[in-house]
């Protein structure tokens, strides 16, 4: 990436100059224009998955995902045009129709901001999944998973280089999983929780928080762990 050459463009009517290779999202941020994102995280590689960050570039037929679109000389960009906001609203409505995003304050705030209708697609098939509780540290509730890939990226080449998580299935059946669907303790997982740290919903949730939400007290959580361990020892 050549950061020497500067590019001139206009975003929401404001002129800006950025080094070549800068994305439209970064360019907008340099002007203090906040473009909403869902899948993007500062610690993981931008993949342009969710399309929530789309912007309108004058003269382009399609909307551009700003997180992966490099700025070009002379571009005129709109980040909150009617077409853009309508698209974002639809993305949120489709997401809400297929996944439980009720425990993600950030997504709820976007629903409100874009006036998204939670009942827009009443007949949609919502993702269901059993809560996976296979280790002492965190649970996995993939009914809340929006497939942002951050956990997979964090586990692989963006943070941890451990490669315990991957993506299984295709199309609507795509889901985050381990190789051969085995429980986490049987994978290369080292329970760093870096995946939990980047999860935008509660699809990955620390067990302590999970149990507190179930109504347990702190001392009960500790006692329960001890009990579970003793049971495990007995059964082995």
């Amino acid at each position: 990436m050549n950061k020497e050459k500067l590019i001139q463009l206009t975003i929401d009517g404001k002129e800006c100059q950025v080094p070549e290779g800068t994305t439209l999202l970064e360019a907008a941020r340099s002007l203090d224009i906040k473009i909403p994102v869902i899948c993007l995280h500062e610690a993981t590689t931008a993949e342009g998955l969710c399309r929530q960050c789309v912007v309108e570039v004058e003269g382009w037929g399609r909307l551009a995902p700003s997180c992966i679109t490099p700025a070009e000389e002379g571009q005129v960009v709109l980040t909150e045009s009617e077409r853009v906001t309508r698209t974002r609203r639809t993305i949120l409505e489709m997401l809400n129709a297929s996944v439980d995003i009720s425990q993600s304050p950030a997504l709820q705030a976007q629903m409100e901001r874009y006036d998204a209708d939670p009942e827009r697609f009443p007949g949609a098939k919502k993702r269901t999944a059993e809560i996976l509780d296979d280790n002492p540290f965190y649970i996995r509730d993939y009914s809340q998973c929006i497939l942002c890939w951050r956990c997979v990226q964090a586990c692989a080449d963006d943070m941890q280089y451990t490669y315990a998580l991957g993506i299984g299935g295709r199309g609507h059946d795509s889901h985050i999983t381990t190789f051969f669907d085995v429980p986490l303790p049987e994978t290369t997982c080292v329970f760093c929780g870096n995946c939990v740290g980047v999860c935008p919903t509660n699809a990955l949730q620390g067990k302590t928080e999970f149990l507190l939400e179930q109504g347990l007290q702190h001392n009960e959580i500790r006692a329960r762990r001890r009990q579970e361990r003793q049971n495990e020892r007995r059964s082995s």
């Binding site: 080449d157 329970f191 760093c192 939990v196 740290g197 928080e209």
Partner: protein, 700 residues
């Protein structure tokens, strides 16, 4: 649902020397979640399992919450007792009694009759005050801490060759390395976050990795060259690398001319260390030694990282010297991406040494036996100080055995789990006149105490920790401390004033600090490399790397760019000394002790956290062929016996262990690996050999 009363507190992880910054979520005085800030060094959002899930020990019900005094006080020999062997006392009673006992010993036998252990888990401020009390009030330099048992040999080796002992690179530059050599460090388990940056260098940025380790550790999967040497043959292998570098003309002549001495004497001593000789001794193919040497020697920049596998050896100093020799020959030191990096173990082991927790130096490594230095401290504290260096950890054990040390003051350490040849070390403790123990939990050392003083955890006080790359960072109070427990610095201050009073001192050496920041300021005033650092500046900049002599100085991310502390780097000749105890007919296997990802040191913390749920018991790792010979499989019980003792443990059959070597973690009191290890010490660093002793493994 959780109540709304959740707050977030930024602090520093209490486990290893990486010094990860953490954001702890607090609910009802419990830590419910730990995250890492993504925009702050050194970890930039990354954590390992210990930092993220292992800090719940602070709320464990077995925390010490009030001072206690041994019921059978004065009965000799003392026996180890649990908490039921103690009675509750007030702070006044416990501190007065402790002061009285110290005064008795000091007045009858002199200050050198007290041995003290400060703590690599406590803050810089706690440790500064501790050594001030020990030196300025008790009047002895008998102060040491667990770094003696971990990196003492690295310190000694680097002192000889460079004149300094800290890690020369910053963690921030790891991901941009070109060539890196990792040896004697199971990085992904002992410094997990550092291992992610090293792997990033390899996977993402095309760095080339050499791993040298007897165990087939995870990092070896990322290596271009994995040299699986026989335990204890390190010097031969590193000298053979040097041999190739010299013979093939891969030395950096310009660097040698300007910054290195001892070349003429050193070069001929390499002659015997041919790759073929090394193959015979180390079991590594000569050709692979040549290739690894070429990779390291030809690199523009190459850095070396090591851990306990290098230092915890009866020839640990030689190991460290042999690594320094490689860096000096090739000029791979003093530039970004080059350097010699002992990865520090405890969260504040760097800081504890920096703050004067060593028998031979005041804060900032200023020698106690240099009159000018001593004069500065004497003048500032207003007291005359002992000009002789004190005793090291294990020399204190010897002195206690001989009777010249009568009393121990142990703060936040567990020597009764970490010393080698534990049965002997425990026996020595039985005959002490007085033991003062200060910690957050009862542990194997506390069982020998006369008085127990309850301290507070990292999550309940403020102060600073200094991580492995010399970055001074803050810890902040996040929860209320349990019961009557108090911060270490407050306890020391209170005790010191009482001892001074009972000694009849007319003038205090100064224990009227109102906050840790004031303690830091006094230390910085006496310690030139800290003078540009204070708590307010760290607060503003998240952390500052020392040396940092002035407020305008930015701090020092890598060392030795112009010169070495001793002037020129010194190439140092070495001979191969085989390990002290080698396998024989009766004890046919080598035992190597170490650590596992999910546990920490003597287990005092991790075994009281969720981490114990995933790794609840000791496992002895055995190669399939050895397991077959013994007739055991994974999960079965064995007896492991050495000339010193015997323990029982379950087996894990794994190819991580080379044939002929078994591995055991030392975290588990019910299978304490250090019952087996031997008290054979490196002659210079006095560090014991935890990596090679002979054992026999039998089916139970």
């Amino acid at each position: 649902m959780m109540s709304d009363a959740v707050k977030t507190v930024r602090s520093t992880c209490p486990y290893c020397g990486v010094g990860c910054q953490v954001d702890m979520q607090i609910h009802e005085n419990h830590i419910t979640r730990v995250d890492a800030p993504f925009d702050v060094a050194p970890n930039f959002g990354r954590l390992c399992t210990k930092g993220r899930y292992g800090v719940d020990f602070v709320s464990h019900p077995s925390r010490l919450t009030y001072p206690m005094i041994r019921k059978e006080l004065g009965v000799q020999p003392r026996k180890p007792v649990g908490l039921s062997g103690f009675r509750r006392a007030t702070w006044d009673e416990a501190l007065d009694l402790a002061a009285e006992k110290f005064v008795e010993i000091v007045q009858a036998n002199g200050g050198d009759a007290v041995g003290t252990f400060c703590s690599a888990k406590a803050t810089n401020e706690d440790n500064y005050l501790f050594q001030k009390f020990v030196r300025g009030v008790l009047g002895t330099n008998n102060i040491d801490h667990c770094s003696r048992l971990c990196h003492a040999a690295s310190v000694a080796g680097l002192q000889i060759t460079l004149g300094s002992s800290a890690m020369s690179n910053s963690i921030a530059e790891m991901k941009d390395l070109e060539v890196l050599l990792v040896t004697g460090s199971n990085t992904s388990e002992t410094h997990p976050v550092i291992s992610t940056f090293l792997r990033e260098a390899v996977v993402k940025n095309g760095a080339r990795l050499i791993v040298i380790d007897p165990r087939q550790i995870e990092m070896s999967q990322f290596a271009e060259y994995y040299l699986q040497l026989k335990p204890g043959t390190d010097v031969v292998l590193f000298q053979a690398l040097a041999h190739v570098i010299v013979k093939e003309g891969l030395v950096n002549q310009e660097f040698l001319d300007s910054r290195v001495e001892g070349l003429e004497e050193y070069i001929p001593t390499l002659d015997p260390f041919t790759p073929e000789y090394a193959e015979e001794i180390c079991g590594v193919p000569a050709e692979m030694i040549r290739q690894a040497a070429r990779l390291y020697g030809k690199a523009n920049a190459a850095a070396i990282y090591w851990g306990m596998g290098i230092s915890q050896s009866s020839h640990g100093t030689d190991n460290a010297i042999s690594l320094a020799n490689l860096a000096l020959l090739t000029g791979h030191i003093g530039r970004p991406g080059t350097g010699l990096n002992p990865l520090r173990g405890q969260n504040n082991v760097q800081g504890c040494s920096d703050s004067g927790g060593l028998p031979n130096v005041y804060p900032g490594y200023q020698p106690v036996n240099e009159p000018e230095v001593r004069g500065k401290f004497e003048e500032f504290w207003g007291v005359s100080l002992d000009p002789e260096p004190g005793l090291t950890t294990m020399e204190m054990v010897d002195a206690a055995e001989q009777g010249s040390i009568k009393g121990y003051y142990v703060m936040g350490e567990n020597p009764m789990m970490s010393e080698p040849d534990l049965l002997h070390a425990r026996h020595v403790m039985e005959n002490l006149e007085f033991v003062l123990y200060q910690d957050i939990f009862m542990n194997e050392t506390g069982e020998y105490a006369d008085i127990i003083l309850p301290a507070v955890s990292f999550a309940e006080k403020d102060g600073t920790f200094t991580n492995s790359d010399r970055r001074v960072q803050l810890i902040r109070p996040a929860i209320h401390s349990p019961g009557e427990s108090r911060p270490d610095w407050e306890i020391i201050q209170d005790l010191a004033l009482r001892v001074e009073e009972k000694l009849g001192r007319d003038k205090s050496v100064g224990f009227s600090f109102a906050a840790p920041s004031e303690i830091w300021d006094e230390m910085a005033q006496l310690t030139p490399p800290f003078q540009g650092i204070n708590h307010q500046r760290i607060e503003k900049e998240d952390g500052v790397h020392w040396p940092c002599p002035t407020p305008e100085h930015p701090g020092t991310p890598y060392l030795f760019s112009e010169t070495f502390p001793r002037g020129k780097g010194k190439l140092t000749s070495l001979v191969y000394r085989p390990s002290v105890e080698l396998p024989d007919k009766e004890f046919p296997l080598i035992l190597s002790t170490g650590r596992v990802l999910y546990h920490w040191h003597g287990g005092t913390m991790t075994r009281r956290s969720k981490l114990d749920d995933i790794y609840p018991e000791a496992l002895v790792e055995i190669h399939p062929a050895d397991a077959n010979n013994i007739g055991v499989d994974s999960g079965e019980w064995v007896k492991v016996r050495s000339r010193r003792g015997e323990i029982e443990s379950k087996v894990l059959v794994t190819r991580r262990s080379p044939q002929g070597t078994v591995f055991m973690p030392f975290h588990f009191v019910e299978a304490a690996a250090n019952i087996l290890t031997l008290d054979a010490r490196d002659p210079q660093a006095k560090i014991p050999d935890y990596k090679v002793c002979a054992v026999v493994v039998e089916k139970r």
